[in-house]
């Protein structure tokens, strides 16, 4: 799933570590989110939306390919 976390973080001038601290996750997880290798859980997605004070749809761009979630080996 595409997202704008990297752009929103840059606007706030936060490092990945700082954003990680705000969201109570590890820096590796922020990196995986920004590189779109990992889709967050619903609670984490809400926390991200709340932190940046944006509706979820402005942060996460859901496309036809994204459903159903799949993770290949």
């Amino acid at each position: 799933m595409k997202n704008r976390i990297h752009v929103l973080r840059a606007e706030k001038r936060w490092t990945q570590a700082e954003l990680a601290e705000h969201l109570n996750v590890s820096r590796q997880t922020i990196n995986a989110l920004e590189t779109e290798k990992y889709d967050p859980s619903l609670p984490l997605a809400f926390s991200i939306a709340r932190l940046f004070a944006r509706p979820m749809e402005e942060i996460f761009l859901f496309e036809a390919d994204d459903a159903p979630p799949h993770h290949e080996v």
Binding site: N24, N31, K37
Partner: protein
């Protein structure tokens, strides 16, 4: 949703690493203390006690792993649980097949503690490989 204030994943990792290192130091110290005594062939009840003693810190390691998995963030938890599932599968498969080879094909006996080594090594190896998926 969990409303309790949580230990941060960074702190949880550090706590886990500290606990494992301390437990392993105790384990090695106990091994060093127990092995020479065992070589003197003490009576059976004593031997049982001495053989069991070094694994007590491993109970602490297992507890530390469980605590870490609960405190880790969702991606760390996903990676480690998947890696542990792979490790459990590989260890189950290897111990089952080698058990059959021992029983039916006369292969030499391998001590059971190797199962522990296989789980740990495959867990660590799988976790490294799985992390690459998210980098």
């Amino acid at each position: 949703m969990n409303t309790k204030p949580r230990m941060t994943p960074v702190k949880a990792s550090r706590r886990y690493q500290t606990e494992v290192v301390v437990a392993m130091v105790i384990y090695m110290a106990l091994m060093a203390a127990v092995v020479p005594t065992l070589k003197t062939q003490p009576p059976l009840p004593e031997r049982v006690l001495l053989a069991i003693l070094p694994v007590l810190p491993i109970v602490w390691v297992i507890w530390a792993v469980i605590k870490y998995l609960r405190r880790a963030d969702e991606l760390q938890r996903r990676v480690h649980i998947e890696a542990l599932a792979i490790a459990a599968g590989v260890a189950a498969f290897l111990s089952l097949s080698y058990g059959f080879l021992e029983d039916m094909a006369g292969f030499p006996h391998i001590p059971l503690w190797w199962v522990f080594m296989v789980i740990d090594l495959v867990w660590a190896g799988s976790a490294c490989i799985l992390w690459r998926r998210y980098k």
